[in-house]
Symmetry: C3
Subunit: 224 residues, 3 copies
Amino acid sequence: MLHELFTPSVQHALDLIGIFVFAISGALLAVRKNFDVFGIAVLAEVTALGGGLFRDLIIGAVPPAAFTDLGYFITPLFATVLVFFLHPEVERTQHAVNVFDAAGLGLFCVTGTTKAYDYGLGLTASATLGLATAVGGGVLRDVLANEVPSLLRWDRDLYAVPAIVGSAMVVLFIRFDVVNAFTSGLAVVTAFVLRLLAMHFHWRAPRAWNRKSARSETEEATAQ
Amino acid sequence: MLHELFTPSVQHALDLIGIFVFAISGALLAVRKNFDVFGIAVLAEVTALGGGLFRDLIIGAVPPAAFTDLGYFITPLFATVLVFFLHPEVERTQHAVNVFDAAGLGLFCVTGTTKAYDYGLGLTASATLGLATAVGGGVLRDVLANEVPSLLRWDRDLYAVPAIVGSAMVVLFIRFDVVNAFTSGLAVVTAFVLRLLAMHFHWRAPRAWNRKSARSETEEATAQ
Amino acid sequence: MLHELFTPSVQHALDLIGIFVFAISGALLAVRKNFDVFGIAVLAEVTALGGGLFRDLIIGAVPPAAFTDLGYFITPLFATVLVFFLHPEVERTQHAVNVFDAAGLGLFCVTGTTKAYDYGLGLTASATLGLATAVGGGVLRDVLANEVPSLLRWDRDLYAVPAIVGSAMVVLFIRFDVVNAFTSGLAVVTAFVLRLLAMHFHWRAPRAWNRKSARSETEEATAQ
């Protein structure tokens, strides 16, 4: 199996860390939206497990890992408890949370791509599902919180591009038959570092050209 | 099969009642949102069948019951017609609708948990899917209506907790091998009564502790 | 296989055209919402492929066609590039886009119904999934853009009804065993023409009767 990139226990520990930090981001948004403790737990679970759940439904891996691995389910509940009691402290460590979130992004785009390929999908489809694994939970989080997904907004630092780069590296490695723990780790680190750089330098993706139509200007005015 | 808790025809009749009352709640929200008759039908269907559809996709029961049992599909259309012509009268009976909705909540968390366990999921995963069966349709309803899911909001009476209790009772009964029509019925009734009490006494779940950060206070002010 | 209604290459070309025009509608909404280029691509993909993806998950056709046919995935990216560079010109051709969108609606309700029936669903369920194939992508588009789905709003010209008519014609043809390229084409054209007429004459579906309760009037006032 390709997707045992690392030893199973290392892989599992990495997965749980990724799930935990994604859950923190969901729980923090829930607190900001004034949700109750169950709302916090739901948003933590959805953010942490939503991307992998989507991937598993698409590739036909049912029941999804989110429902067969108890650790996957319980980890977001720890994040919920932590944020419930200590959210001002957690908010103050927002920078640390962002760094861990970047690590989760890098990790999930790589493991997602690999798992999709293991289930027989093509290279492009595998990379797409790797991206979906990494960013899907955050999109579901924002939809449930009734906000425009921050993934889609131009006024947020690049988030999809690092995951696209990481996923693309994995399928290139698969294509040239050089997938192993080292190259996979390289893809994780590249996505991770790109995301850190994007946050540090506030890199943003361009919006559509020629946005000078009357319609767009009006909307920009109201958006400000 | 475990999930034949009651005789098939009794089980089916109970399912249809649950679907009908959930559909009423979807149709009423659609009228309030000023949707047309097709929007009312869509919201009725989604509210009534969404939770079970999610469960069936997760456990791999495809095509889902919502698409194989004609009664499941047609019942929400009856609710649509009723609300379309008589919605002021239905609104006036909002209290009765709430009581039936509580019955649907109790019923679906029990049948959802049992069906998930029948399909081989673990106890925790089964209880989670029982909860998702009971509350999933309402979440989808609110997402489609572009509102913050009332499940997540702290200013609504407890809704998830009764379903959690009902689902937890079922997995305990399974664990100790005492599942039968009587114990299952007990779980349904417990969830139902807890929800009625929550509505009567306006029980609410707590929000995060220490919500005294500047951010939270501003948000509370604007929320009022 | 029933769902080879036309020769495979004709069918595939029609599918790609439908995907392309749906993607254009998603990309245009993304530009209006001020999304960046990745947001435009995501909304184009979701609008074009979302309905078919939902259908394939329901009928158990995994991995879905959207992830196995490279053309399906790449076509929305062409639409993204086109809208990114030329969106004022594309907006100016909104009428042409609407005509193509109507063609996509007619095509997808027919192919969706046929594929669902091929996978063993009943006639009513097949017609429902045909409708979902045709309109599902647009609903997902609006949910991700954090807007009330235009499908559900009464102040939009009929959109669901033409697709319902097209899907219903297909199941009637199946029922009476007269499915072939000609009758299927007739269903496509009927749905297409009905949608064009609905746009031309601004046909709308009725809202609930007796909307004279205090609640409704207040809401109408604020909606204006």
